[in-house]
Amino acid sequence: MIPKKECIAMLLAGGEGRRMGFLTKELAKPAVPFGGKYRIIDFTLSNCANSGIYTVGVLTQYKPLVLNSHLGNGIPWDLDRKEGGVTILPPFVREKGGEWYRGTANAVYQNLFFIEQHNPCYVLVASGDHIYKMDYSLMIKYHQDKNADATIAAIKVPWKEASRFGVMHTEEDGRITDFAEKPQLPRSNLVSMGVYLFNRKLLTKYLRIDDINPLSENDFGRDVIPLMLQDGCRMFAYPFYGYWRDVGTVESLWEANMDLLAVEPELNLYDQNWRIYTVDPSQPPHYLADTACVEQSMVSEGCNIYGTVRRSVLFTGVQAGEGSLIEESVIMPYVRIGRNVQVRRAIIDEYTEVKDGCRIFNNSHAETPQIILVEENMIIQENSEINR
């Protein structure tokens, strides 16, 4: 059969984000809000659309409702297509019963029928919970140039962090000689970004082999990639030099938001040629009152601000009353902050109301402080104190 498409994408979006506390109580990690108006998965979806990949399967499992309604029919990312477009792929029941996705590889394995239906040459497998801008079409080009069986996007991270990731060792031409998932003693600081490009036929073959291996954890990094390497597949590391974050914790989510406030942010959201798309919240321009003072911050539509905001990210529809001071904080969509409230180094989650005179305060001046997280949909009564 002649391949119908060059490449389709399978996005892993079932992540629970266990280390993100209350932030993922009601939604999966890819649906966590980021950057003043986006949800994390917008980055991967926009990358697909901007790279010319218009068939995208989104594999969901953990609390998918927010994610599902965010994705809709894919209109915001131009992924509403007659052929392909965005398809949500949750686990489902078969004749002989159904089962949850056991691991990343198993999730794709259970949807092999979807891949076959679209019959592409290549399959891009990527996490839906990373923040980065990447042109996958260049990676496909690299993959073709190297005549590779599989290509893994790779980035250098600080040595002390390498053990959190899949660590690779490559030859000079980029061919991977060694791959270790989360090793205790990393041999290199070149790590996998969790973005894999496979030749379709080979992917199908190895996912089938992996599935019948009772010892496998059915994970790409842990099982499938090492197995392919062992079999002598031509696997290459595709070097990536831009901004990339896997925000696994409350602190790293806070930090990634703060990164956007740099004078020249590494992650440029204002690039007209590589837009990050998201769902339209239909809000008017934001309103700054006569008493407002906003510096070194990002403020989204629908906000109305009477107080002072410094080094903070304010999402869509946030209110902040007169006399309030918000510093180094991330205020999620539709949070209402009363008068004379102080917020410092905190993340306040969606729809929470902080009444007059509250102090949500972190005195720490450490470079990587512990961040106060206020849960979504809460009402914080007048003059409450939340300290750290």
């Binding site: 934001h286 700054l288 009152a289």
Partner: protein, 371 residues
């Protein structure tokens, strides 16, 4: 609302007073309120009220309008059944009526004939308001009216252009409609929004076309005030008719009040517009902004007071903007000073430049100028 259709009239020649601002566009696609176009207000009102069949009559310079409206997706009006349709001007057998408004109805009679709805909401595109046509149609039905016309109460002390004033009886029935320049305190000023049945609309249009008279209002409604039941429906919240630079400026500035901002943009429904995917606005070190409205995509390093900034405006360090309206993608250089200025889209103001409008009239700068 299944039985109600909408017509938005862009075909009246009303852009004359807008000077440079209307040079490249029809009045319906005039930017307003930091991210909207004038047509968004009545169009969103119709869509939010559940009107599923909306026609837009155009006359000239409607390129930017078509680009803005697209398939109607932003208003949820991209439908298999009905939805949004743009009806460009065309004359019947080369014969053009003196008034384009009536010509549009006659030329597109087919559209009315094949539409299943029996009640029509007709609205002019240059009215800024947020209105529930659901409530208005209910009022129309309860009164058993032949025609319902909209009005708002005027504010005193403003130099108004010529407007139609309504005289009503206690029931809200219209007794008289007269044109006036000087508005009395709480005069009832007619807004060109009407509700009537489709057959009546066609009848009025055909009759007045034979009389070769002016528009629907002057040729169709006013002469028939005494043989039809014409009722008036009040818009109690913010509303404005934009047909001059002066009014454009004044009504824009009225949005810099939190209450008006809320009334216009949120109540009873959200105003929808074409989505542009701009990231949130960025405030850099040294920015000082107050009493202003800013859209997404702006980058601010200077001072902005009492102004409206549309999407993607850049304000350099030390720049000072006061009492001004800056449209999409303008760039204001370092240390530039702007007071009482309206910059159309894509204007570049170089560093140190000073632009001042005078007290009676804001200074208008044409699209894509480099100063």
């Amino acid at each position: 609302m299944k039985n109600v259709m909408g017509v938005i009239n862009v075909s009246k020649k009303s852009g004359d007073q807008l000077g440079l601002l209307a040079k490249h566009r029809c009045i319906a696609s005039m930017p307003f309120g930091g991210k909207y176009r004038l047509i968004d207000f009545v169009l969103s009102g119709m869509a939010n009220s559940g009107i599923q069949n909306v026609a837009v009559f155009t006359r000239e310079k409607y390129g930017s309008l078509m680009n803005h409206l697209g398939s109607g997706k932003s208003w949820d009006l991209s439908r298999k059944q009905d939805g949004l349709i743009i009806l460009p001007p065309h004359s019947l057998d080369g014969y053009v009526l003196p008034d384009f408004e009536l010509n549009s109805y006659l030329a597109h009679k087919d559209f009315f004939d094949r539409s299943s709805q029996n009640t029509v909401v007709v609205a002019s595109s240059n009215i800024v308001c947020n209105v529930s046509f659901r409530d208005a149609v209910r009022y129309h039905e309860e009164k058993g009216a032949d025609i319902t016309v909209f009005y708002s109460e005027s504010l005193p002390g403003i130099a108004w252009p010529l407007r139609h004033n309504l005289a009503l009886n206690d029931e809200g029935m219209v007794l008289n409609i007269v044109e006036r320049t000087n508005q009395l305190l709480s005069a009832r000023v007619l807004l060109e929004i009407y509700i009537l049945s489709k057959p009546l609309l066609m009848e009025l249009v055909e009759d007045s076309a034979q009389n070769r008279d002016a528009g629907l209002l002057t040729a169709g409604i006013i002469p028939n005030l005494h043989n039809l039941k014409v009722y008036a429906y009040a818009l109690s919240r913010f509303s404005a008719v934009i047909d001059s630079v002066d009014l454009y400026y004044r009504h824009s500035m009225e949005l810099l009040c939190r209450q008006t901002w809320e009334e216009l943009f949120f109540i009873p429904g959200h105003v929808q517009t074409k989505f542009t995917d701009e990231p949130p606005a960025r405030y850099l070190e040294g920015s000082a902004v107050c009493g202003s409205l800013l859209a997404n995509g702006c980058t601010i390093a200077g001072t902005v007071k009492n102004s409206i900034l549309f999407e993607g405006v850049k304000v350099g360090q030390g720049a000072y903007i006061n009492n001004s309206i800056i449209m999409q993608k303008c760039e204001i250089g370092q240390g530039a000073v702007l007071d009482r200025v309206i910059l159309d889209k894509d204007v570049y103001v170089s560093a140190g430049k000073v632009l001042m409008g005078d007290n009676s009239k804001p200074l208008v700068v044409e699209k894509r100028r480099i100063l």
